[in-house]
């Protein structure tokens, strides 16, 4: 994962060292653990430091002084789902584009044509959503 000092082939592709290097994984997990300790340590420290005086009003939801009407965890706008769906389609595609971008010098013109076809098909979906008016905010 974190093989350092890869060599360049004649096509300019970076060839990673083939041996599996686990150092990177240790860094990610270890740093995540350290951050977790830092965050919850600070929250606990703040809890010990701060004063606490619960009143009924402090537990109520803040909605500009007006009592909450109806259930908060109820239905909300469909537009959010549509953007999430579009995002999933494009986010999966981006990982292919990244891989393609790294080896572009080796695959040259055929590579560009193939990626063009792929993206045209993908953009067709985007234009469909556009025509249907899903990209408008309502």
């Amino acid at each position: 994962m974190a093989a350092r000092g890869g060599t360049r082939s004649e096509h300019g592709i970076v060839l990673a060292e083939l041996e599996m290097d686990q150092t990177g994984l240790i860094y990610v997990i270890g740093f995540g653990a350290a951050t977790t300790i830092f965050v919850f340590g600070t929250i606990v420290a703040a809890w010990l430091l701060s004063h606490r005086r619960r009143t009924l009003q402090k537990g109520l939801p803040y909605e500009s002084g007006i009592d909450t009407i109806g259930d908060t965890w109820s239905r909300f706008g469909l537009a959010f789902y549509l953007f999430a769906l579009l995002f999933v389609a494009f986010d999966v595609e981006i990982i292919f584009v990244y891989l393609w971008a790294v080896v572009i010098r080796a695959i040259s013109v055929p590579g560009i044509v193939i990626m063009g076809i792929f993206l045209v098909v993908l953009m067709f979906g985007e234009f469909y959503a556009w025509r249907k008016g899903d990209l408008r905010w309502h």
Binding site: Y27, V28, T35, T36, H51, W137
Partner: protein, 336 residues
């Protein structure tokens, strides 16, 4: 005991501690800068009471937050309410792992650094969504959903505009991206379309003005943070300013040569002097772009929520695809 293992462990502990410690002064300095720069641009004095010329105002703010009462709404989902600030802060802090501060001065020099960075930074969406949902407040819920829709939409042009840089440099490794800029000049000159797309999308991604709809006070109070107080709110605030620093750092690394000086000499200084020289340029460039972000906040009015999504999907996405193909064709045609 294997000596190299011990050395590796020592490096890990040192890198982790340094990075975590760096986030604290970074947040204080950026907040102080924001208070002071906005004040001067509005012809006010700004903070001038705490410390010499008000220098410790943001530090005092930080300690104040630590001592504040931390309330949880009665109907909130307690577990997720506590987890949300952790998620947002972790997403910001963990993306610091791959930032090259100076030659050889990077915590983990991944081959897939660019992918790792955007993957980890994207996790903060989950934190904001969880914060909005768990608060049991309609403003929070709407704010959380709105911020998720915004960040998710702008992540597409953000990541696609970086593909231009990846095509140019042929690598996903941040150190090699900088090494390429040493021999070919800064990427911004080769990415005259890619850079503005990245800049706009990055501003939206970290919810800075003019895209600060998440915290549009007049519409949804404080968005997903409405019910938060004390240190739990502090971590959202903290993460926001760390994210501003990280976005500027990545922008500098990708487009403005990272730790390289603006002129080609000395090409690469060795040893300790080289690291100090690299750090100097890295922080100078990064803080310049933080200043630009603050400048934009005082200058530009907030964008309307109905225009927000249109900009991402109808303008920036097609433009970033055009930029991608132009770069690819140029690289193949001229053997750059």
């Amino acid at each position: 005991m294997d000596f190299s293992l011990l050395l590796g462990l020592g490096r890990f502990v040192l890198a982790t501690t340094l990075l975590l410690l760096l986030t604290i002064p970074t947040a204080f300095v950026v907040i102080q800068l924001e208070l002071k720069v906005i004040a001067l641009m509005q012809l006010r004095l700004g903070p001038n009471r705490v410390g010499p010329r008000g220098l410790f105002q943001s530090t005092i703010h930080g300690f104040k937050v630590l001592a504040k009462e931390d309330t949880v709404p009665d109907q909130a989902d307690r577990a997720t309410f506590t987890l949300a600030p952790w998620m947002v802060y972790m997403a910001a802090a963990m993306s610091m792992l791959v930032i090259p501060f100076a030659p050889g001065f990077v915590a983990a020099d991944f081959n897939i650094g660019v992918v790792y960075f955007f993957a980890i930074l994207g996790l903060s969406v989950v934190g904001l969504l969880v914060a909005g949902w768990s608060s049991y407040n309609k403003y929070s819920l709407l704010g959380g959903l709105r911020s998720a829709a915004q960040m998710v939409s702008y992540e597409i042009p953000l990541t696609l505009s970086v593909v231009g840089v990846v095509i140019l440099t042929g690598s996903l490794n941040f150190s090699q991206i900088i090494a390429h800029q040493l021999s070919h000049g800064w990427n911004v000159w080769w990415q005259l379309l890619g850079f503005p797309i990245f800049f706009i999308a990055a501003t939206a991604e970290i919810n800075r003005a003019p895209f600060d709809l998440v915290e549009a006070d007049s519409e949804i109070v404080a968005g997903p943070f409405t019910e938060y107080s004390g240190m739990r709110f502090g971590f959202f605030f903290f993460a926001e300013y760390v994210a501003l620093f990280i976005m500027s750092a990545i922008l500098v690394t990708l487009f403005f040569g990272g730790y390289l000086a603006p002129w080609p000499f000395p090409a690469q200084l060795g040893g300790f002097i080289g690291i100090l020289y690299g750090l100097l340029w890295f922080f100078a460039k990064t803080y310049f772009f933080i200043f630009v972000a603050i400048w934009m906040r005082t200058t530009l009015p907030r964008i309307r929520v109905d225009q927000l999504m249109g900009v991402a999907w109808k303008v920036l996405l097609p433009l970033s695809l055009i930029n991608l193909f132009l770069t690819a064709i140029a690289v193949v045609a001229f053997k750059l």
